[in-house]
Structures are given as C-alpha cells and as structure tokens.
C-alpha cells in the first residue's frame, strides 16, 4: 500500500473487523491507559494512517482506538450512497467501541470526522466523554467562493480548480488527477511534500466509484445539524487553521458558536493540522484530555467549556 508500507512507530495491540448490514470495518487498538481516545476517520479519502503522528504518543498514555472508514484501508467499499451516511459512520464508531469493550471514550475528529464526532456526542451522550474537533465539516458558516463554483454531479466546462476537479465525471476520467489536486489543497502548508505524498497515496487507496457514492451519501440538513450541536452536553474544543482551503475557518468558528465550545485558531495552518503540526496538536489534545481527567478526579461533572482561546501554532 502506498504510504502504508513504511514501518510504523508502533503496531496495534489488537485489531479486528466489525460488521454492520454486511459492511465490514477494520479497527485497531493500541495501549491501555484511561480514558480511551477514539480517533475518527475523516472521509474515505484516507484511512487510519491519518493519525500516525498521534497514535504512538497517545498509546503510551491511553487506550487508543482507530478504524478505517468505509471506502478506504481494509474496510469494505460498498457501492450504495446510503452506506456512507453520517449516521452509518457514527454507527461503525460505536460498534468499534463495543468490539474493543469500550463503554466511554473521548473522540478526536478532523474534517468530516469533526461532524461525526459531534453527531456521536449528540446521539449517545452517555458514551462520549468529550470531543476535540479539528477543521470540522459543517453546513454552518460560509463556504469559500472557489468551492461555491463546484457542480459535483454535472459535466462542467473545465478540468481545473475546484469546479473542474471536484466533479464525479472527472473522478471517473482521471482519479489520479483528483488525488494530486485534493492532496495539495488539504495540505497547502509550505514544506509539506511528505504529507502531500501520503495524502495523495491514501486517496488512491479508495476508488472513484466508492468516493462518488460517499460524496452522494445522505447527510444531515442544516436544521438537523443545529439540533445536534444544541444537544451536545460534553466538553468540546474546536481547532481550525486560518489557511484552510478545504473547509474555511468560518465554518469552525460557526460550529464553536453553535456548541458554545472554545475555539482555537491555528495560525497559518491548512486542512490537516494533525499531519502537518503533529506535535502542537498532540499537546493541545493532551491538554484537553488532561482537563477532563482532572475534573473527573475532582468529582466535577464537566459539561461545556465556555472560554475563548487562541493558540498560535507557529
């Protein structure tokens, strides 16, 4: 597997598959400290190697769970859009927790995973201790002007830019072209050749058919999303780069506002903070995890964190 063949800093202590409605999803467990941290997938353009900068560190202190999303890694690639619905990914995540005998976990998500994590916290509040969500996908907030030009389902007049390349017809014609384009947008930070190569390699591990199905999956409406954000009762932190070209920071700010969560500005960072700024993100996630544990040890019931916070990453 490209990008997946290189030796790892740490190998899983357990792994397996969960199966829901005939779709098999591959998961891994590392380490055994409390509390458990579940790192969520971020759409089927990548699999759990996305978290390679986090797993070895957190596994020394915590129990870490990861899984490959439907459409990538060792998980199945179903053909139907319904199989990629947000509630299905959340369902997979809870099934992975069950398979790993995990009652409760802190969830960490990025991009689409930022939405999956919020959805999990609203659906099963008794199972989610907290959520650290990076550059979350959301119907809230403004989309960038370039992306507003997209016409995913249509034949368009160009093969350039978001309009030309974020297009199902183009994906079927030149999936490699999409992989290179999208990887460059996800990791637009300077001096990031390795991260871009990794990302492009992970995209090539799905298929255009699978990715089109996932892009056409049923997704919560704006009203449903607002309702989810309103129902979240656990502590949440939102972190978002101000150089993000895939999901503009405005969306993360809007999500933090809707949840009432503190917002961390990642100055100069693009759409993959965990890959491009792994050390800083590890320390921010660790701080969040420690704050929950400290509060629990003091016997406090932690609900939402309400302070404002801005951290310069560079």
């Amino acid at each position: 597997m490209s990008g997946g063949g290189q030796s790892r800093a740490r190998y899983p202590d357990a792994d397996g598959f969960v199966e829901r409605d005939g779709v098999r999803v591959f998961w891994e467990r590392y380490g055994d400290g409390d509390p458990t941290i579940l790192f969520l997938p971020a759409w089927s353009v990548c699999y759990s190697r996305l978290w390679k900068g986090q797993i070895p560190y957190f596994a020394r202190h915590h129990r870490v769970l990861v899984f490959d999303p439907r459409g990538n890694g060792r998980s199945d690639k179903p053909a139907e859009p319904e199989a990629y619905a947000d509630v299905e990914i959340a369902g997979d995540a809870f099934a992975v927790m069950d398979a790993a005998d995990t009652e409760r976990a802190i969830v960490v998500g990025a991009s689409m995973g930022g939405w999956y994590g919020a959805l999990m916290a609203a659906l099963r509040p008794e199972r989610i201790l907290g959520a650290f969500l990076m550059c979350p996908a959301s119907a809230l907030g403004e989309q960038s002007p370039e992306r507003q030009e997209q016409a995913f389902m249509d034949e368009v007049e160009t093969e350039e830019g978001w309009r030309g390349k974020f297009n199902r017809h183009y994906w079927l014609r030149d999936f490699d072209g999409f992989a290179d384009f999208f990887a460059g947008k996800v990791i637009n930070d300077p001096h990031s050749t390795k991260q871009v190569e990794d990302m492009a390699g992970w995209i090539r591990e799905t298929t255009p058919e699978s990715l089109i199905a996932s892009a056409c999956a049923p997704f919560s409406s704006l009203e449903e999303q607002l309702d989810v954000y309103e129902r979240i009762s656990c502590p949440v932190v939102i972190a978002h780069g101000d150089a993000d070209e895939v999901i503009p920071q405005d969306k993360g700010v809007a999500v933090a506002g809707a949840i009432g969560a503190p917002f961390i500005n990642l100055a100069g960072v693009g759409h993959a903070p965990a890959a491009r700024k792994p050390v800083k993100m590890n320390l921010l996630i660790r701080e969040f995890v420690e704050s929950l544990r400290d509060a629990e040890q003091r016997g406090e019931t932690v609900t939402r964190i309400a302070s404002e916070e801005s951290v310069a990453v560079q």
């Binding site: 790892r8 070895p56 390795k194 050390v279 990453v313």
Partner: protein, 400 residues
C-alpha cells in the same frame, strides 16, 4: 549539580563513539555534571559498555535502525527517502523527548544528529526550555543523479526549510557544532536559489574539527597493540566491517566470497569479519580459515592494528582508519548521498582510502584489491585529535 540530556543518532554507531568522547571531555570541564542519554540500539550498546546513564524512557523510543534496515536493498539505501519515510518515528520520538524534559529539568540538551529534536524545536520554539546544542558532520541533503528533477526539488525544499527555520528562530540553537573543518564541506549549493553550503555553514556553525573518540597516539606502539589483540607479526590482518547498522550484510557476504582468492594471493592473510550489533554472525557463511565475530567493542583499536580494512562509506569507520593511517577499501552504499558525496569528499581531502563500487566489484576484483592494498604504506593528511575537547568547551560555556 548540572544536568545534561544527550540525544545521539542511532543511525550507525559513529555518533555514539564520538558522543561518549565529548561527554568525557565535558565532565572534565564541568565536574559536577550528570549526563543522561535518551538513546536506543545500537547506541545503547556502546553506552552500556561505557557505563553511561541511559534514561529509562529510552525503552519507549521507536527504533530508527530497524526502519533503515527495512528500507534497504542489496548494498543500497536511499537514505534521503528513508529519512523522509521515518516521519512517524521522528514525531513519536520527539513526543517522548518532550515528555522526558517536561518531567525532568535539564540545563542542557545536546542533539548529535537528533533530527526530530532540531526539527520540531524549530517548528515550535516555545517548547525550548533549556540550553540546546546541535551537532552534525554534514549540512545539506543532496540529490542522487538518478533521482531526477523530483529528488532535486525535494532535497532543496528540505534545505530551504532548514535555512528558513534558522533565520526565523536563531534563539533555538544556542550552539551549532560542525564535526569537521570548513574544507570538509562539499562545493555545492543547498538548492538552486539557496546559499553555498560552505558559506551558510560558516555563518551558522562552529567547527570542532573531526571528533575521533580516541587519541591515535595511544597506538604509537602498534606491535604492542597487535600483540595485545592477538595479531601475530607475520600475519596480514584484514578487518571487514559495516559499522553498526544491519544494512551491510550484502557487502560482508561479497567479501567473504572473495576470501579464498584473496587467501591464495596473500597466504599470510587473516580475514576477520565483524558482523556488528545488528547482524547475526551465525547467519553468515562459514568458511575454513575465516573468522566471523559478533559486535566488537572499541573496534577502532582493531582497526588501528590491522593491515587493511574493508568497509562501507560511513564517516566514522573511514575516519578511524584515516586517523590511524591504515589502508582501506570502501564501498559507499548506493543512493546514500552522505556516503557518496559528503564522506567521499572528506576522504579525498585526507587522501585516504580506495573507493570501489559494489555493483562493479565481483569477488575476484575485491580479492585483487585486497592483495594490492594490504600492508601498503599510506600518506594521509593527519587528523586532529582535539575535536572532542573543542566541542565540549563550546558546550561547557553554557553551564559555567
């Protein structure tokens, strides 16, 4: 009491040997210093022999040598790409370092090619909480010819980031020490729009001279040393070594194949193959009259006593041989820019060693070269012996 944390690169054994020498000199200058090592195999092999203090967190380091071995082919290591593909391991090991220095206060951090320390401290200068010194024996990633435009672009991009890091955060490295002299630096640019390596290095580094980890004058009585090591006056001793990584097994096998022909040409030949700490000696072919040894501590003493050595193109072994004025044949690993360019340039300057190409050297050619080189008088440029003391003096400035 002052406390220092030493991070010594585990790629090969060379850093360990010289870092132990620097630590010894540093103790002489700062008697109340305690030095801990955050280190992994094969460095720990040297440290254990020297009774150095290995930080207990070291056992959690992700192994870099194993990664390098996993990326190597027959006498071939694309070292730049291998290093890039170690990104996950470097993050993990920096996080461990960060945990260690968060729990334990040190006055000084010393990183000898501890890439993760230097890179992430420049990415996040707010994480620096002690004096910090950086040591290296080369500056600049260089592309191999067959890597084409892509590799030239990538190496220049990494070099550009280094230049930008140092310019933006000059406070991170309190000392930057080049293990060598300005003349050891290749006549190349860091990249098309970047400075010459020599100019940039002279602006940003102190030069310690070469750090050999031993004093060649202690071997002035070579006959006594040979007697101590069990090498007879009438024997012609050839030591075959590939240093501390497990990458060199192909070369060991090739030279073993050359042994019968070499023995016919040089009847007094006594060939000793040193497998090193990461190659199982029992995995190598057994030949009559050939000695295979596992890891040999203080191998440099044997190299000082030998009549010929056959080695890879690694800096430490070749410079140990140069300092001891012994003839040697070296085979740079294919696609290893450091061995092919940086080390080769340095050896040319010292007039030391005979370079051979692994692919173009069947066993008979190696046997012939052994016969020509063994016992030959050499005329190398002398190697300085005060490098460790000079490096330690720069470190001590931050503690006194």
């Amino acid at each position: 009491m002052k406390r220092a944390l030493f991070i010594s690169s585990p790629i090969g054994l060379g850093h360990a040997q010289r870092d132990v020498a620097v630590a010894r000199e540093l103790r002489a200058l700062v008697p109340d210093i305690q030095i801990d090592w955050l280190a992994q195999n094969p460095v720990t092999k040297v440290l254990e022999e020297e009774d150095e203090r290995i930080h207990p967190a070291s056992e959690h380091l992700a192994n870099e040598s194993r990664h390098f071995e996993s990326e190597s082919a027959e006498h071939d290591l694309q070292v730049f790409q291998t290093w890039r593909r170690m990104d996950e391991i470097l993050v993990a090991n920096f996080m461990l370092f960060h945990d260690v220095v968060t729990e334990d206060d040190y006055d000084l951090w010393i990183a000898d090619e501890g890439w993760e320390i230097d890179y992430f401290l420049h990415e996040h200068p707010d994480l620096k909480r002690a004096n910090y010194a950086w040591l290296t024996d080369f500056v600049g990633f260089l592309p191999m010819a067959d890597g084409g435009e892509r590799e030239a672009f990538l190496t220049a991009d990494y070099n550009a980031q280094m230049v930008e890091h140092i310019a933006a955060h000059p406070q991170v490295r309190d000392r930057a020490i080049f293990v060598g002299n300005p003349e050891d630096i290749v006549d190349e640019r860091l990249g098309p729009d970047l400075p010459m390596i020599l100019d940039w290095t002279e602006q940003h580094f102190d030069f310690a001279g070469y750090i050999s980890g031993f004093d060649a004058s202690e071997f002035a009585d070579r006959e006594a040393l040979r007697a101590e090591l069990g090498y007879g006056a009438d024997e012609k001793v050839c030591i075959v070594t590939v240093g501390g990584s497990g990458v060199g097994e192909s070369l060991l096998r090739r030279v073993i194949e050359a042994h019968p022909a070499a023995k016919r040409a040089v009847p007094e030949l006594r060939m000793i193959v040193v497998a090193g700490p990461r190659i199982d000696p029992d995995s190598l072919p057994f030949l009559d009259g050939l000695e295979v040894r596992p890891y040999v501590h203080n191998l440099y003493r044997h190299l000082a006593a030998c009549d010929l050595a056959v080695a890879q193109g690694g800096l430490t072994t070749s410079m140990e041989l140069t300092a001891n004025r012994r003839p040697f044949i070296y085979f740079p690993l294919k696609h290893h820019f450091e061995q092919n360019f940086h080390v080769h340039h340095r050896l040319q300057r010292y007039g030391a060693g005979r370079r051979m190409d692994f692919d173009g050297s069947p066993p008979d050619a190696i046997a012939e070269a052994i016969a020509q080189e063994i016992g030959r008088e050499v005329d190398y440029r002398p190697v300085e012996t005060d490098g460790a003391r000079r490096a330690a003096a720069r470190l001590a400035e931050m503690l006194n």
